[in-house]
Amino acid sequence: MIVPTVTDVLKNIEYTLENVVKPTIVGTPIHTTVQTMGHLLRHATLRVENEGQMLMDDGKRLRSLLASIHDYLTSVSSEPGCQTCMDSISSTLAQNFRDADTYPTLISMGQEVGSLREALYNALKQLQAMRNTHREEKAYIAIRQEIRDYLALQILDESALVDPAFVGYGPRR
């Protein structure tokens, strides 16, 4: 192990801010700024510790979901916009986001997941445009539910990066 780790450093900075700097400051403007800095240091620490795995899991879910959407759109491919959407999903799924020898940094993984979410965003727009024609169909209902299920997992994952950093640590401003 290489010590201090990056999270050791972040935690030490937060501790120092809270216990050495904050007790000495005078005045609301700087006090509120330092308060926010503490919250965000904790948030950054959680992201360093956990965001990588979260993005990896999210990426897998998105790829599976986009493949499901592609399969559904194949069954209704004569609808306006479907083929373009399918092509966009295919090209996103085929994209190579980094070389095999390149370490997957949080930034690069974020870019990958960002691209996958963009594909989902555009696919959802396409599905919403088809709603009037297909809303009663089982396959359409199922794919829309699959998207909602994904959204639920994503937001619950994100809570683990946010809530422990802020809740119980006092005023936000």
Binding site: Y121, L124, R172
Partner: protein, 354 residues
């Protein structure tokens, strides 16, 4: 452009047509603002040194505002409201001359008073009567706003206006969708999902009203128990007046005495009806709470994008782009039934001040 004494003296002397004096201690930046910069400037005229005057400068953060609506829309709101009985600080002038500033700003009067109502948040029942009085005062001002002839005043020059009471929510949601497409730096599919749900479940409005948007504790200026200026108009809209009840901060307290509720949302809606003749239902207020969370996503996305573009922005924007954005997403997701709702505890610290 920096708000230094030297710059302010040159600029205000130019604008006011007579020499002024500004000292370092006369310059105060409002520390808690999350959407834009607000500066309070005191100055004295060289012809009348004894008379201390104040003026407010308002501008976007260097990296961009958290607010998706434009600064000139905000200026327009103050200018137009100045023509009504709604108490607002008087808009003074708009400035975008590049010889003076690299960022447009506008100025307005500084109205003496405070957003802070002493003891309002003290849970001691001795202050319940005061809380109800404050609530009524605020409701009376909302009633005034909601009855304005927004069409004659030209508010639809900037604000999207529904053509029917059935369309109020749809227009609101579609305007948020449009703003999101303009400002987004990443894809939030939940926004699309929630927008669809909100349009599907939109309530019919009792009338089409000018709405303030952000309102309540921290947004209005008081002297004693009277509102002397209503501030923060950047989220104004035209539509269902229930939106203002949903967007309100703290001014409809739930108060019980001896097990009987003596004030709360239903009392407030009844009181508001007695003033305005406008009937708003609790269900409509609940709906607009959900719509508000969608708007929070928009603000959070804008703020996060601003910090991504300029890391030297105010740290408050980073908070808005992280926790606030997440809360907007979570509350929106629970509002449309995707995830379970948060416990009430999740929100108790959010509006607390150091």
């Amino acid at each position: 452009m920096e708000f230094t004494p030297a710059w302010l003296e040159r600029y205000l002397s130019h604008r006011l047509g007579s020499a002024v004096i500004v000292k370092e201690e006369d310059i105060t930046r409002f520390p808690r603002g999350s959407s834009r910069e607000t500066w309070f400037i005191n100055y004295r005229s060289k012809d009348d040194i004894e008379a201390l005057k104040s003026i407010v400068f308002r501008l976007d953060f260097r990296g961009g505002s958290t607010d998706p609506s434009s600064l000139d829309q905000e200026y327009f709101m103050y200018e137009r409201l100045g023509q009504t009985d709604v108490p607002v600080a008087k808009a003074l002038w708009w400035e975008d001359d590049p010889s003076w500033t690299d960022r447009p700003f506008y100025t307005r009067e500084h109205v003496e008073g405070s957003w802070d109502v002493p003891h309002y948040q003290d849970p001691d029942p001795a202050y319940d009567e005061m809380r109800i009085a404050i609530s009524k005062e605020h409701l009376s001002k909302l009633a005034l706003i909601h009855q304005l002839d927004w069409k004659a005043l030209g508010f639809d020059k900037y604000l999207p206006a529904p053509t029917s009471v059935e369309d109020c929510a749809k227009v609101f949601v579609e305007s948020l969708m449009s703003m999101m497409e303009d400002i987004r730096t990443s894809a939030i599919p939940l926004f699309l999902e929630a927008g669809e749900w909100l349009i599907d479940n939109a309530p019919i409005a009792p009338r089409i009203s000018l709405c303030k948007g952000t309102n309540g504790l921290g947004e209005e200026i008081f002297r004693g128990q009277k509102i002397v200026a209503m501030s923060d108009w950047e989220e104004a809209s035209i539509g269902h007046p229930a939106a203002d009840f949903a967007f309100m901060q703290d001014f409809v307290p739930e108060i019980e005495h001896d097990g009987q509720k003596i004030w709360g949302l239903e009392h407030a809606l009844d009181y508001y009806y007695s003033l305005s003749g406008i009937r708003i239902t609790p269900e409509a207020v609940a709906y607009y709470h959900k719509l508000r969370s969608l708007k929070t996503i928009l603000f959070g996305q804008k703020a996060g994008g601003a910090i991504h573009a300029n890391f030297d922005g105010p740290i408050r924007q980073t908070w808005t782009g992280t926790e606030v954005l997440h809360i907007g997403k979570y509350v929106t997701a629970s509002a449309i039934g995707i995830v379970p709702p948060h416990s009430g505890d999740r929100f108790s610290e959010l509006n607390q001040l150091v």
